[in-house]
């Protein structure tokens, strides 16, 4: 762990914190959005906010794939698993507890007899299908560009091997359209919504897509972007770089995570995705609404492995819980404690909104790690 420890060193952090404190200009507000749930988790897990000046505010963004997945998609998976006894539905652990309609979740559907299993990777799901030829194995794929190449790869492999009992419900979403939506929405000026001064760009996503796809933020929206790793010192370093851009009136895409991210990204992975998946015309995001070309579906050439086609699945949109403030939280207009349900009706044990499910969600991160900051009795 020597390698990782170097990115969590308290002395280095204190030095960086001092440097940031020296560089922030009085009277300026530095509201930076960490787009990615991985950053949200790291910031809470290591208490990064404690080391930053008050005027530097970190705002959770919509980059937790569990948080932005609309309920209708989970409902779809649950309906399939409950209606078809021959189906084994497998997915990543985080998805199992996402609250769905009728008080259900995939975990609760399992308790009602559905064959729902947790896998660590898309490859595990494929292996499961090969081990159980008598079952229909359906992989519920979720995630941003990071987890997309493995999904594309298993579809390609299933096709090559003629594996007829494997299919995928593809829920992969794209980062740049979400950032575009955040920056372009008229709500950007709505009350309560902070004026963003910069964006902490995702690390793993950018390993795949590179840094170039964020250029629009800088050029069209004059928004500084710094792509950064998930270690707490990475985050602090990126904050410092954003503070400098703001102070100097620059808006550029900078890369703090040069140890893994290049401008053009991983061309091979991009080609793989492109061969198997194509943009959906529209896709619903929790919190952001329906965004054009913001998600991926399986290309018709691979329809035999597309569970939506194979089982004729229907995507029925479901409104969010009336009092759930997830939507406002995901775009920075509200903090978790602004939600009436936070910590009372909605807790990690009884999540009502998706932000409370994954530890990368803003509400769960605040509940698990940051609650002590709230005024007593809150």
């Amino acid at each position: 762990m020597k390698y990782v420890d170097a990115f969590r060193d308290g002395a280095l952090a204190a030095g960086l914190a001092q440097a940031i404190a020296r560089e922030v200009e009085p009277g300026r507000d530095y509201a930076f959005m960490e787009f990615c749930g991985g950053h949200t988790h790291a910031i809470s897990r290591y208490g990064v906010a404690d080391l930053l000046p008050r005027t530097v505010r970190l705002i959770h963004g919509p980059g937790c794939p569990v948080c932005v997945l609309p309920v209708g998609r989970i409902d779809m998976a649950i309906r399939l698993a409950l209606a078809r006894p021959e189906v084994t539905l497998c997915t990543y652990a985080d998805c199992l507890r996402i609250p769905a309609s009728d008080g259900l979740s995939l975990l609760k559907a399992r308790a009602r007899g559905a064959d729902v299993r947790m896998v660590y990777s898309a490859a595990d799901a494929l292996a499961l299908a090969e081990r159980m030829p008598e079952r229909e194995v359906v992989f519920f794929a979720i995630g941003f560009e990071t987890t997309t190449p493995p999904t594309a790869r298993v579809i390609e492999l299933a096709a090559q091997r003629g594996l007829a009992n494997f299919s995928v419900i593809c829920n992969h979403v794209l980062t740049p359209p979400a950032i575009e939506a955040l920056l372009a929405a008229p709500a950007a000026d709505s009350p309560g919504r902070p004026r963003l001064a910069g964006i902490l760009g995702p690390a793993h996503v950018s390993v795949i897509i590179g840094s170039a796809p964020y250029a629009f933020a800088a050029t069209r929206h004059h928004m500084p972007v710094v792509i950064t790793g998930f270690e707490p010192l990475d985050v602090m370093q990126a904050v410092r770089m954003l503070v400098r851009q703001v102070n100097e009136g620059r808006a550029e895409v900078e890369n703090e995570y040069t140890r893994a991210v290049t401008p053009e990204g991983n061309r091979k992975a991009q080609a793989l995705i492109d061969a198997v998946l194509a943009p959906r015309p529209q896709f619903d995001w929790r919190g952001l609404g329906s965004l054009p070309a913001s998600a991926l579906r399986i290309r018709p050439a691979f329809a035999a492995w597309d569970a939506e086609v194979k089982f004729g699945l229907e995507d029925r949109p479901v409104p969010d819980h009336k009092s759930c403030a997830c939507a406002a939280i995901l775009c920075g207009a509200k903090a978790p404690t602004d939600c009436k349900l936070f910590g009372t009706a909605c807790t990690p044990e009884t999540p009502l909104g998706a932000c409370m499910v994954s530890s990368e969600g803003a509400c769960a991160a605040h509940y698990n790690y940051g609650r002590f900051r709230d005024p007593a009795g809150a």
Binding site: A13, H41, G47, A49, E360, F372
Partner: protein, 351 residues
């Protein structure tokens, strides 16, 4: 004097558990006599009665009773198996009450079709663990469920121990200012199980810390005044995080921990990173949490460290006054965060 009622011995090499082994007839008698009684070998069990007759404790001592069900999968894992684990689990429940564990009762729920050879291995391991811990398995029960209705073997152990006068550790006794100690690295057992179960194939095999802790507890009591030891706990499921939250809630206090002081083995840390888990939420089966008066903390720590099971013991923080009962942590980075109960089941993150 006993009459030999069985024509042929139990086939411990190729035989399998069948429903007859739980039916109360000859086959069950055979299983008990040829496997359990032989392995656990003591006069109380040897009488073959429905219960065990036990001597009263010494004057001034009280009895402590604890019970624990074991449903681990896989049944065999690096560093132990369900047999030794079922002994350690209950021995430790008694030990953290301050008691000297004396007797165990064991209940087996076996699944039809389970290989007798595996059962024999498990029973031998239980017998070995009990012998090493100085406790006797004096009574028991066996049931067999149909195939598909069990997971091979479930074992419930119930233990009785004697609590010497003057000892009274309890979860409600933590006081602001007390020191929080742990006896060694955290998360080893849970990670060993997870690595096996999910076939993660880590290069360096992670070994469970499953162990009986009563010796360590006795060492501790020998080194510091009994009244200075306020709380003893073994942080099993839910890990250290849940254990400390339990204590904080019971005592109506908070805690402040220092992340840098908390011992975690590098391979466990690495596995946790990979799966997106926090070692503070991962189970232990051979670790002790001690909350003691601060003036006794150094002596307690030295005593723990002098014992083989406490070589990596550390003082990880202190109890604070906090009406909200929050367990907090100063991170390696120098920030602060809460250490909360584990929510639901421990599930790895996506990316």
């Amino acid at each position: 004097m006993s009459c030999p009622p069985y024509a042929r011995p139990l086939d411990l090499r190729d035989g399998r558990v069948d429903l007859g082994h739980g039916a109360g007839g000859r086959a069950m008698q055979q299983l008990i006599a040829q496997l359990f009684a032989r392995a656990f070998d003591n006069s109380e069990l040897g009488r073959g009665d429905d219960g065990a007759v036990l001597p009263a404790p010494a004057p001034g001592e009280r009895l402590v009773m604890a019970t624990d069900g074991h449903v681990v999968s896989p049944l065999f894992f690096p560093g132990g198996d369900i047999g030794s684990l079922s002994v350690h689990g209950t021995v430790n429940d008694l030990a953290v009450m301050g008691a000297r564990p004396l007797w165990l009762a064991a209940g087996f729920i076996l699944e039809e079709g389970f290989p007798l050879a595996d059962l024999a291995r498990i029973v031998a391991s239980m017998a070995g663990a009990a012998r090493a811990a100085g406790v006797r398995i004096v009574t028991g029960d066996t049931k067999v469920v149909e195939q598909g209705k069990g997971d091979g073997v479930f074992i419930t152990t119930t233990g009785i121990g004697a609590l010497p006068a003057g000892r009274d550790p309890g979860g409600a006794r933590a006081r602001p200012g007390d020191a929080v100690l742990v006896s060694g690295t955290l998360g080893d057992h849970g990670m060993a199980i997870m690595a096996q179960r999910e076939a993660l194939g880590f290069e360096s095999a992670i070994v469970s810390d499953s162990a009986a802790l009563h010796g360590l507890v006795e060492t501790l009591y020998a080194a510091v005044p009994a009244e200075a030891i306020h709380v003893l706990r073994d942080p099993t499921r839910g890990g250290l995080a849940s254990t400390l939250n339990e204590i904080a809630t019971q005592s109506g206090v908070g805690m402040m921990l220092d992340e840098r002081a908390i011992p975690v083995a590098p391979q466990v840390q690495a596995a946790c990173e990979l799966l997106g888990l926090d070692p503070l939420n991962v189970a232990n089966e051979g670790k002790l949490v001690v909350i003691c008066a601060t003036e006794s903390a150094e002596a307690a720590l030295a005593a723990l460290r002098a014992h083989p099971l406490g070589a990596a013991a550390a003082r990880i923080g202190e109890v604070s006054a906090d009406s909200r009962c929050f367990v907090q942590l100063r991170t390696t980075l120098g920030g602060r965060r809460m250490v909360d109960w584990l929510a639901g089941e421990q599930l790895p993150r996506i990316c």
